[in-house]
């Protein structure tokens, strides 16, 4: 069965600092991978998606992620965090975008 592990329930970074949120997946075959962001009392919004191809994918608002088959990872990165990035981030794995399996999420707190 497919699964996603986000090992960090909470991450705190200073505004302007770089960010990495970790995601490890388990999937038999070639996965489709996603990062979604959830702002308070809102639904999930897509940040970026990986479809088999270039391992580094660019998303909205300066976010990017790198797929690693050897490490079964899909970590999210941003070079310089803004206070508006304060949110919960979810990593998900699926078969071609069908029936996503989510991790437990990482809450990002930004120190001003």
């Amino acid at each position: 069965a497919q699964s996603v592990t986000q090992p960090d329930a909470r991450v705190t970074v200073s505004e302007g600092a770089s960010l990495q949120l970790r995601c490890k997946y388990s999937y038999f075959g070639t996965p489709y991978l996603f990062w979604y962001v959830q702002y308070p009392r809102q639904g999930l919004q897509l940040l970026l998606k990986y479809y088999p191809g270039d391992p580094v994918v660019q998303g909205v608002n300066g976010f990017e992620a790198e797929f690693s088959k050897s490490n079964s990872s899909f970590h999210l990165r941003k070079a310089s965090v803004h206070w508006s990035d304060w949110a919960v981030y979810f990593c998900a794995v699926s078969n071609m975008g069908y029936k996503l399996t989510f991790g437990t999420g990482t809450s990002l707190l930004v120190d001003p």
């Binding site: 996603v4 986000q6 489709y32 996603f34 979604y36 009392r41 809102q42 639904g43 999930l44 919004q45 897509l46 998606k49 479809y51 979810f90 071609m96 975008g97 069908y98 029936k99 996503l100 399996t101 989510f102 991790g103 437990t104 999420g105």
Partner: protein
Amino acid sequence: EAAVTQSPRNKVAVTGGKVTLSCNQTNNHNNMYWYRQDTGHGLRLIHYSYGAGSTEKGDIPDGYKASRPSQENFSLILELATPSQTSVYFCASGDWGQAPLFGEGTRLSVL
């Protein structure tokens, strides 16, 4: 503009009562999903559908039924609501090869 609309946005129900959560999508997507979100669990799949007339069990279907009467509409039904079903419920729609689009969520409290 692509959209997934859930109603109601907030619901308070009594234990043992029947609750229906509704979802409408204007994206002409074949696939629709119901998830619940709980702290420490992320989002978990309850039911999903390939298209009008079809419903399938997800990972945590017990205590829930689903109905897909048309391409646009997908309902989640709690026949006998229990306090353990207090949660935030999200509907999503999508197609093969696409990232699903999520609604704003329904906050359900069962007292």
